[in-house]
């Protein structure tokens, strides 16, 4: 099992090193990878059909509760089949589609990475594991969308897709973590036993919010859908695979997977119905306005995803079965349509439906595939699509009176638009005369079967499943629906439900759609309309937000990082004074207790007064040398203070260092120009206030600390043992070279480094030719 999941990763890894081998015709062989995985999972069919599930567990990061726990049930199986089945077709298709491409090896590496991630995602039982694969699908999608990385548009689309899905991903992580801490486990299996408690927990709302953000972004629900049309910049096999059949369904999978856990709750149902319902209508409407085949498919995909969300939101048994069915239905016909589109694009160099027509003469098989897919999409009876649509209507019609009409209406309308979209892609390019402007690309004499066979296969499958719905039902759908429902669903798929309202609606949909197909052709929109639409579309809005974020970022960054050191220091000081001052004045009760303080004697006061005067001189003098000499007077006065307080070593050192500093200053600065009086009064006043409050704060803290004397046992230890144990009488020196000798060792290293620094600073002049 783990090998099956990881095979994609292993393949990707090997391809980065051995990719050259598969660049040529051997690429076809790579299709064996998904095919063998497909085969592997086929072995599970009998048991899954018997209602069994499989669990596999491998240790990975037990500390985080993350293990490679896989769980295969009906829902997983449905997705596994899609992933590996359609995957196999796409692998073969791509071998021909991208034949001779410079970076074919990379393409397959990404594709394998993606397939592996997707498999992991649908098989994982551990929600964090799900998240890991979830993110991996995003990132591999990023690389796939940006596959044509020399094109700016591709890069931009890849980035947008990653930004949207990535952002959602972080919320999803939050949701998962929250679920984990609410239930104490990351295993879905285990969570199911506490589902009721989870739904009742106060975090439920938050979990839903985060989860939906993750699912909606991934599954391109309004208003996060805009990345998906952009993602169509990817090569068509990618679009077929990722952006219709598999990755975008990850969100759906997630919602389906969590339905038994979090579903059947007012918030859950309402949100999903609202978002899904709106998305399906909005996107379906948009799809009929497009002329680019891929664009049409993108919007119809979004709409289909909306339908799925909508169905999951309804959450009834009907709805869940419908959802399970529609996943398969949609995957089959939409992948087909994409592959068809790819061939058309590949062979004619255009995807504009206005410029296409009559292609059935050139590519009869492709036309067949297109027709079959479009018909299944249209929900023509005897196609699998019919069954899918039937179930949707069934679902909406089974609702309560209040929602019934509205929702059914929306569903019908959406389906009409979708039918139109399917016909536009699957039928319109193949019928009518061949426009003169259309030329067949000369690079292939005959169309490779690798291109058309997969598309035809998908179309045929749509018909087969339509004729024998019990096959998919028994093998896949029922068990998937059971898994979503967390119980047994008893709604066998049937070709024929008899004459009823549902059938009527289907017929109406079909008629109206076909009518629309003949009556309406999308025209080029006026530039004003385009502008307006772009501006109010979520994409426009999000781009606007992006733009203003960027300009805000610039001005915000400039506000703080303005290049002026003094402004930095001011900010730091104000922060320090504000923070600590606030804390100090709100908590500490000021005490003044001078009993332990020593008296002030005149000669001490004089030193103090001279120091103060020297400080003031330093600050206000206009002469640089005066400032420097004043600083040295401050130092010397402090040296006297040290003497008064019994610190001869300190006094000595202070004095020597101070003298050296003055010498240094003089050596260095004697050439500098005069101080400039550069600040205005207002600035000086402001700085003065800040500086004084800083100083006062330090003074106050000092005073308070001084009043609470500490136990000086360490000093006493040093004093008592300096001679007895360390054989020295100058305790300060004994501390320096013995008790705390490690400090002194470091201190001389500081000096060393400073000396080396000075040396290099003055001696080393790097020439522009020296590079590093």
């Amino acid at each position: 099992m783990i090998l099956a999941v990881l095979s994609g990763f292993i393949a990707a890894f090997l391809l980065t090193f051995l990719g050259k081998i598969f660049k040529g015709r051997l690429a076809v062989l790579l299709g064996l990878l998904p095919l063998s995985v497909f085969n592997y999972f086929l072995y599970f069919f009998p048991d899954i059909s018997a209602g069994k599930t499989f669990s596999f567990s491998y240790k990975w990061i037990p500390s985080l509760g993350i293990n490679l726990d896989f769980h295969l049930d009906g829902l997983s199986m449905l997705f596994v089949m899609l992933i590996t089945g359609i995957g196999s077709l796409v692998y073969f298709y791509a071998a021909a589609y991208l034949q001779g491409h410079k970076y074919l090896d990379r393409f397959y590496a990404y594709l394998s990475l993606f397939m592996g991630s997707m498999l992991g995602l649908v098989l994982a039982d551990n929600i964090l594991l799900i998240f890991i694969f979830w993110e991996l699908t995003s990132i591999s999608s990023f690389f796939l969308i940006g596959f044509n990385n020399d094109q700016a548009e591709s890069r931009k689309s890849a980035l947008t897709a990653l930004a949207v899905t990535g952002c959602g991903g972080f919320f999803l992580l939050a949701a998962f973590v929250l679920m984990g801490s609410a239930t104490g486990t990351y295993s879905i299996e285990s969570m199911l036993s506490v589902a009721t408690a989870l739904k009742a927990s106060p975090e439920y709302g938050l979990i839903l919010t985060f989860l939906f953000l993750g699912a909606f972004t991934k599954s391109a629900q309004f208003p996060f859908h805009f990345w998906l049309p952009g993602a169509m910049k990817a090569p068509t096999p990618i679009s077929a695979y990722l952006h219709s059949a598999t990755m975008v369904k990850a969100g759906i999978y997630l919602l389906a997977r969590f339905t038994p856990l979090l579903g059947q709750h007012f918030y859950w149902n309402t949100t999903l119905m609202a978002v899904g319902g709106f998305t399906m209508l909005y996107a379906a409407f948009h799809s009929i306005l497009r002329k680019d085949m891929k664009s049409i498919l993108a919007y119809s995909t979004i709409s289909a995803l909306g339908i799925l969300v909508f169905l999951l939101g309804i959450g009834t048994q009907h709805a869940l079965v419908a959802a399970a069915t529609f996943i398969l239905v949609h995957a089959l016909y939409k992948a087909g349509l994409f592959l068809v589109t790819g061939i058309v694009d590949h062979e004619t160099g255009t995807r504009d439906i206005d410029k296409l027509g009559g292609l059935r003469r050139w590519f009869p098989f492709v036309a067949l595939a297109g027709f079959l897919a479009a018909l299944s999409n249209a929900g023509l009876p005897l196609t699998f699509g019919f069954i899918g649509k039937d179930l949707i209507y069934e679902t909406t019609l089974h609702l309560g009176d209040t929602e019934k009409y509205l929702l059914t209406g929306i569903a019908v309308l959406s389906n009409i638009f979708l039918l139109y979209a399917g016909f536009s892609v699957g039928i319109r390019p193949f019928v009518g005369p061949i426009p003169e402007s259309l030329v067949k690309r000369p690079h292939h004499s005959t169309l490779s079967p690798l291109l058309w066979l997969p598309a035809v296969l998908l179309g045929v499958l749509g018909v087969v499943f339509g004729l024998a719905p019990f096959i998919p039902d028994n093998l896949l759908i029922r068990h998937a629906a059971d898994a979503i429902f967390n119980g047994t669903t008893a709604l066998p798929l049937k070709i024929w439900h008899g004459f009823n309202l549902t059938l009527l609606l289907s017929a109406a949909t079909l008629m109206s759609g076909v009518g629309l197909f003949f009556a309406f052709r999308p025209r080029a929109l006026s530039s004003a309309t385009q502008y307006w639409m772009a501006k109010v579309s979520p994409q426009g809005i999000s781009e606007g937000i992006g733009q203003s974020t960027r300009s805000f970022a610039t001005s915000y960054t400039r506000l703080f990082q303005n290049g002026y050191l003094r402004s930095y220091i001011l900010t730091i000081t104000v922060f320090l004074v504000g923070l600590i001052g606030y804390r100090f004045f709100t908590t500490v009760d000021l005490r003044v207790n001078t009993s332990s303080f020593t008296e002030i004697r005149f000669f001490e006061f004089v030193v103090f007064a001279i120091t103060v005067a020297a400080i003031i001189t330093t600050v206000f003098t206009k002469s640089r040398l005066t400032a420097i000499v004043s600083v040295s007077i401050i130092g010397y006065s402090i040296c006297l203070i040290f003497v008064y307080y019994g610190a001869p070593d300190l006094a000595m050192t202070q004095f020597t260092i101070d003298t050296l500093t003055v010498v240094l200053f003089v050596l260095v600065l004697y050439r500098l120009p005069h101080f400039l009086n550069m600040s205005n009064r207002k600035m000086k006043l402001r700085d003065g206030l800040v500086a004084i409050s800083f100083g006062s704060l330090i003074s106050l803290i000092t005073l308070q600390a001084l009043i609470s004397p500490a136990n000086k046992e360490i000093s006493r230890f040093y004093a008592d043992n300096a001679y007895l144990l360390a054989k020295g009488k100058n305790v300060v020196n004994v501390i320096l070279v013995d008790f705390r000798g490690a400090d002194t060792m470091v201190e001389i290293m500081v000096l060393t480094i400073a000396a080396l620094g000075v040396y290099s600073l003055l001696k080393l002049n790097v020439k522009p030719t020296d590079k590093d």
Partner: protein, 500 residues
């Protein structure tokens, strides 16, 4: 029980530095010596780590004076982990430097100072004495000053003035805080401080003092609004230096904050709020700063700030889960940020610029190298299962557990912007075609093959380490867990330091 082993990593660098001064000007000798020093340091670090892991906590009482009277060196899991990380990053930068640093700089003591810097870091991580910590800080600072200015041209010097000024201010604040703390407790040993601080009745003054420490360390670890020195200076020095700075320097501030705010001061509610608010603003500011940068090194400088926010936020939450996340993140961050700047150095060698507008086409020209760099960049983003992802689980969980939704928002925001910025950078630097330029110089291809290897090996090596952190997350997780446990329950540390 005194164990001299734990001072050996420090000594290795010291001795190497001394020998390097003796070999002043002899570049080749210095190269060899420096590499030997790095390798020995790495070996010793691993040995120290495994010994510490087995023994729990190792101590060495310098001068044989038992704590709290002498200076105690302590190697607990936190210290040992940092020592190992420093050694790994140090070795990588050391290998890179042998080719990546100009001869002129080598002649004027580049290697010496680099070893002093690493020694200082090791010292800071291993000391158990607050004043000794200050002293090691100063070693690191002065070394970084020298490295920053070594052979610098105008912009480097301008950046250095700001760097120097603000770091010295930070030192002054740190020293002030130490002074007041000494006044309150009469001791400097961190374990002893832990006990003494707990005994103080006037907790308010302790809290005020702790905030002073916060500001001092905050400047060094570049949190909002104290971070200014970092964007002013980090993009100026040579890549090898920038890698040392980017990977290790700000982390030292974070380390100090982690130590003081778990061992000495347990943050009160107010401090927690401050930490969390600062963390959010730090992440926001870093993200905003990085968003529009055209120079990738400037971009990474801001990302450093942004990601410090994770650490401060986790510290602010101060739960075991959060701290586990913080430690894991730190481990990941040191390796990845170091590599980020080394990778940038390679890019600079290839293209002669780090400006996005002048970069491009790397993916087409150097696919394998690009793949390695992709690992680096996407580790930074935290794409699972790469290394940056795992700690986020803990951080998210802690933020949610503590109902700190603003902080969670900050985490998400920072993650998102990092993702966006790195992906955009990737698309511009690697995907985009190389813009046309007047002259095309590729220093990299001009280098002999062996030198190319010297430049690439550290990048690949560190990328493998970050891959290991990501895929072998369990081991890192166990380590982080233990560290976090010891942070919450300091009794073990106190016993080890004071009662032996």
């Amino acid at each position: 029980m005194t164990d001299n082993l734990l001072i050996l990593p420090i000594f290795t660098h010291l001795l190497t530095a001394i020998l390097l001064i003796f070999a002043w000007g002899h570049i080749n000798t210095q190269r060899v010596l420096s590499l030997c020093g790095h390798i020995i340091a790495l070996a010793l670090s691993f040995h120290l780590f495994s010994k510490t892991w087995k023994a729990g906590i190792l101590t060495m009482q310098a001068g044989g004076w038992k704590a709290p009277f002498g200076i105690t060196f302590v190697s607990d899991t936190l210290s040992a982990t940092f020592v190992v990380l420093t050694a790994i990053a140090g070795l990588a930068v050391g290998i890179f430097s042998t080719v990546g640093v100009s001869k002129a700089r080598m002649q004027y003591g580049y290697f010496v100072i680099a070893h002093f810097l690493l020694m200082g870091l090791n010292g800071a991580f291993l000391t158990g004495d607050i004043f000794n910590l200050y002293v090691w800080f100063e070693i690191v600072i002065i070394s970084s000053f020298v490295l920053m200015t070594l052979g610098g041209k105008k912009p480097q010097m301008e950046g250095a003035i700001k760097y120097v000024a603000m770091n010295m201010l930070a030192s002054a604040v740190f020293l002030t805080a130490i002074a007041i703390l000494y006044g309150l407790t009469g001791t400097l040993n961190m374990a002893d401080l832990s006990l003494k601080v707990a005994q103080i009745e006037k907790k308010e003054l302790v809290s005020v003092t702790s905030l002073l420490f916060f500001v001092g360390f905050g400047i060094k670890s570049a949190v909002f609004p104290l971070y200014f020195w970092l964007p002013s200076s980090y993009h100026t020095p040579p890549s090898a230096t920038a890698a040392l700075f980017g990977g290790l320097l700000t982390k030292m501030g974070v380390y100090a904050m982690l130590r003081t705010f778990t061992l000495i001061f347990v943050p009160d509610a107010f401090t927690q709020k401050v930490l969390i608010a600062v963390a959010i603003m730090t992440m926001f500011t870093g993200a905003m700063g990085a968003l529009n940068k055209t120079s990738i090194r400037r971009m990474f400088s801001y990302l450093i700030i942004c990601h410090i926010g994770y650490l401060i936020g986790g510290l602010g939450l101060h739960t075991r889960v959060a701290l586990t996340g913080v430690i894991f993140y730190l481990i990941h961050d040191i390796i990845v940020k170091t590599n980020l700047f080394l990778a940038t150095g390679v890019i600079h060698k290839i293209r002669g610029s780090t400006d996005i507008r002048r970069l491009g086409g790397l993916y087409a020209e150097y696919p394998k190298l690009s793949l390695v760099m992709a690992i680096v960049f996407f580790s930074l983003v935290g794409i699972p299962p790469l290394s940056g992802f795992w700690p986020k689980i803990g951080l998210f969980q802690a933020a949610l557990d503590e109902k700190s939704y603003f902080l969670l928002g900050g985490f998400i925001l920072a993650s998102f912007f990092t993702l966006y910025i790195v992906a955009k950078m990737w698309s511009e630097v690697f995907w985009k075609d190389l813009p046309k330029r007047a002259e095309e110089t590729n220093e990299f291809t001009e280098l002999p093959f062996i030198k190319q290897v010297w430049l690439i090996v550290p990048v690949v090596g560190l990328a493998l380490v970050s891959l290991y952190i990501g895929l072998g997350a369990e081991n890192i997780m166990v380590i982080s867990n233990r560290i976090a446990l010891n942070m919450i329950d300091t009794g073990y540390y106190l016993d080890a330091v004071l009662n032996k």
